[in-house]
Symmetry: C2
């Protein structure tokens, strides 16, 4: 228990910078924790790689973060989660949280109609990971998936303002298709770390289209909740007094594998200015 | 001369299916030629790979096409062209055409104001390949580049109809930025094999924004023209009577390295139904 005690940071990794939405949620929810983040920006996107390659990349990332003595590893990337979560969980000497299960658990707890929608990239939707996780919790759920290939490039282009007519139109088209197939749905999982940046637009359009309340489940937020629970269970929550007075940026160390265009984009995902980004070769 | 005589097909490769716009242009312009196409769909997109990796992948593709006895190799992918064209041209026993030079040559021939715009992906614009090719032809040209990251996902999603309000809005935003910087521009290079599918929208919006005629240079069309010239120079144009009576699809053999979702998307790029797609492991 002493070796696993407070003082050690949480490790978070993603194929790119989208996982910074998870970092942002964790830093806000757990104001005493420190985070070491790794964005494998040289090899993004993982969605077009084979599962075997993604597992190899994820092991590289995990090994790097373990060298920074992390007490817990968050896989803040749906593709890496689907391919590497079971493997990493069984082989790593620290706790591991994937990107899919926490959001699925929140959605299963929230729905009243028993009909849940899942928004994700083509790769995530094709993997069937959310259906498996949701049905493992409540086998009677009706799950409606909607691939939204344009949302990631839209967010990366920075066109995610709720007043932006392009993002409004695109969101209206995807959610409109889903509304036609699933009028009784009352819960929508944002199954991609990029989507929290479109949260406001998604909420506005969903409310308008369904005409009844639709709860958005932000998988970044759900990972922060699951992180708190797991650390509490393992008696690893940071307790040192004064740490919560540190600015969130001072509690974050940020590594990337390729520097091109990272800082400006990353700051939007984090929701604040980034600390100095450090370049690393895995 | 006899070994290089008629009868042999033209080889075309791309990281994905976008290069089928080049195939379509060549099949239309040269109604007697046959084409062997390779789409490296298992490793798309090349834009996020290092130049060294792209060169390696391009050599794999070239070797595969040479085994099909091609008489000429077209690199129908801007990223692969930027990274591999000089190398492949010097080491292959057949002629090689890249994706950049033909479009640059057309634009240099067409402009009257001496101001040319280039639309492309982030990777293509960052490579500076069009600027180099254009300035090598006319050193006094003023070149205005505009990265358009959303256009490829838009086309792959199939939202490229000129009446589609999303594609209209997105094109209006990119071209609007360019218009503000370059009001005297009279020529626009479509520097990506996906963009010909948005040609109609681009032409409508460009005419409206600039208020004077703007010529769109379709780099797929430019590659077809360059192919005809090069084959004529090398005395390799197909002359056999009757071949032109074959339906274009009957003159195309199509290989991919991963089958997922290829056929439906590919048919849109080719502009007609695809022949049976064959799966290959490079």
């Amino acid at each position: 228990m002493t070796a696993a005690g407070p003082g050690r940071p949480i490790g978070v990794f993603d194929s790119g910078v989208g996982g910074l939405t998870v970092v942002s949620a964790v830093l806000s929810r757990l104001p005493r924790e420190r985070i070491v983040y790794l964005g494998d920006t040289a090899r993004v996107p993982y969605g077009t790689r084979s599962a075997q390659t993604v597992l190899k990349y994820s092991r590289n990332a995990a090994r790097f973060l373990l060298r920074h003595d992390v007490k817990l590893l968050l896989i803040a990337c749906n593709t890496a989660s689907a391919a590497a979560f079971p493997g990493l969980r069984s082989e790593l000497p620290v706790g591991v949280l994937g990107a899919v299960e926490p959001g699925a658990a929140s959605a299963a707890a929230v729905t009243r109609s028993g009909e849940v929608g899942v928004l994700g990239t083509l790769a995530t939707i094709r993997s069937g990971a959310y259906e498996r996780a949701l049905l493992a919790l409540i086998p009677s759920l009706k799950i409606h998936v909607q691939p939204c290939p344009l949302l990631v490039p839209l967010v990366e282009e920075g066109w995610n303002d709720p007043a932006d007519p392009v993002s409004q139109l695109v969101v209206r088209r995807y959610l409109g298709e889903l509304r036609d197939r699933a009028p009784r749905l009352d819960t929508l999982v944002l199954g991609c770390t990029h989507y929290p940046l479109l949260r406001e637009t998604l909420q506005l359009v969903a409310t308008e289209l369904w005409g009844h309340p639709v709860t958005l489940v932000d998988s970044a937020e759900a990972m922060a909740v699951a992180t708190e629970k797991l650390l509490a269970t393992q008696n690893q929550l940071e307790l040192s007094v004064g740490a919560e007075l540190l600015h969130p940026t001072a509690r974050l160390r940020c590594f990337v594998t390729d520097e091109a265009r990272v800082a400006d984009v990353a700051a939007r995902f984090l929701g604040r200015a980034l600390p100095q980004v450090e370049l690393v070769d895995l």
